[in-house]
Amino acid sequence: MSKFTRRNLIAAGVVTAAGASGLGVAVKLAKHYGLVPPDAVGLYGAGETLTYAAQRILTRHSMAREFTRSQISTSPFANEVAPLGEGFQRLQAEGFADWRLTVDGMVAHPASFSIAELKSYPCQTQITHLACEEGWSYIAEWRGVPLSHILGLVGVLPQVRYAVYRSFQPDWWESIDMADALHPQTLVTHGMNGGDLPVAFGGPLRLRVPRQLGYKNVKYITHLTLTDSLKTLGKGLGSAAPEAGYAWYAGI
């Protein structure tokens, strides 16, 4: 059996000190490069930071897999949502003619877009996979305007780090970093499988973030805010998901 010799103790001390200062430097670097997620607090902060940092380094520019037309799910599943209420039904009755996507925050030209205006912008279709954290999934063809196009129109200020988006449903709001916000496949989606986006799947407007799980793909979006910090929003954890106990970053 090994003994606690003076040499062993000194070696253990040196290793511990090196480990602690290495960890300190790693945390400083991670903060500097924006690799610490907003919900990196408490018991699971370390694991969440490792996941987010590793995936940001590995996947900053990677493209979500696209599938062939024959792989589109014939039975996509529309997850249940809370009742949308009378206000929504009134808008729906008028074919969402009065629906607006308001873009504000740290932008040069705050603006508000109707569905018709959004449809007049350069269109992108993608056949991508949507997976729920529960374990089920489907593939659909999504059509919409790349979020990066809208961000170009409003002029994002250089200090912006996050895009915050809100649903017509109160209390459903999410945010993504600029790597995802400017990603070419992040789509302000208004069409699905060749038609308008059905209400059950988030119509008239849903944000598709195909490199993250379903709950980041907020349905019925009405509001987009560009910001340099998530600290003052809600409980300061970044979005509604961590306030309900779920990870802010859902790339896994």
Binding site: M1, S2, K3, L43, Y44, A46, G47, E48, L50, T51, Q55, L58, T59, S62, M63, A64, R65, F67, Q71, S73, S75, P76, F77, N79, E80, H129, A131, C132, E133, E134, G135, W136, S137, Y138, I139, P210, R211, Q212, L213, A244, G245, Y246, A247, G251, I252
Partner: protein, 239 residues
């Protein structure tokens, strides 16, 4: 100065063993919690309750999207379960890297796990299996080492089951799938990855049960002492 006897298990093996135990327990509990929100499995890229299943576990669930015919629901704890699952996965992976690095560099695999080529005959292996089935107590020499069956089992767990459970876990991540699409297509799709992840986890649990059973049968206190302090028993020291 008296010669210090070699510990039964090197300190790195002991530390990584218990870290893995801790991480595995966390992964298992949270994995089950995540699973019960949709205890239905598919093959290929996609699957949901509107599509045919490969098989469905006849258990109650934690989510209204998948009622499964029971009159009650299990507690839905997916939030912290997912946080803990991934944190424990990091601990398991980093511990595993430390262990495998040590195993190769310090000769642990060569000395303790790679079977001697003379042991790799069907006759020898079947004799060890027959001995194990009769719960024959190991000889004194064997108590200091592993027999060929133990060696092959540990190697299978370390180099097949663990890498496979990590791979299939990562393949379920949409971001990892975007960076390394081949890691998903090679498995047959993301739902296939989920199904394989379930079965490999099942094999790991089976290994755990047999492992703990063997520890109990061959002397729980002595084996635990050897894995905690590194000290073998008086009997084993005489060997």
């Amino acid at each position: 100065m008296a010669e210090i006897p070699r510990p039964r298990h090197p300190s790195v093996v002991r530390v990584t063993h218990w870290l893995t135990t801790l991480a595995f327990f966390a992964l298992l509990v949270t994995g089950v919690e995540i699973l019960i929100s949709h205890p239905r499995f598919y093959w290929g890229e996609t699957g949901n309750i509107a599509t045919p299943a490969l098989f469905t576990l006849p258990i109650p669930t934690s989510r209204a999207t998948f009622p499964n015919g029971y009159s009650y629901m299990l507690p839905d704890q997916n939030g912290w379960s997912r946080y803990l699952h991934f944190q424990a996965a990091w601990i398991a992976v980093l511990t595993g890297l430390l262990y495998v690095g040590f195993g190769f560099l310090q000769g642990h695999f060569r000395r303790d796990l790679f079977p001697a080529s003379s042991d790799l005959s069907l006759r020898r292996i079947s004799r060890v299996i027959a001995g194990s089935l009769r719960f024959k107590r190991p000889s004194e020499g064997e108590a200091w080492s592993y027999n060929v069956l133990q060696r092959l089992t540990y190697l299978f767990v370390i180099f097949v089951l663990f890498p496979l459970v990590i791979w299939t876990g990562l393949a379920m991540s949409p971001a990892v799938a975007s960076a390394i699409p081949g890691a998903v297509t090679l498995l047959g799709g993301q739902q296939s990855a989920r199904t394989i992840h379930f079965f490999v986890s099942g094999f790991l649990v089976l290994f755990l049960l047999v492992h703990v059973l063997m520890v109990c049968l061959s002397g729980f206190r002595n084996r635990m002492r050897a894995m905690i302090t590194g000290r073998a028993t008086k009997d084993m020291e005489r060997a």
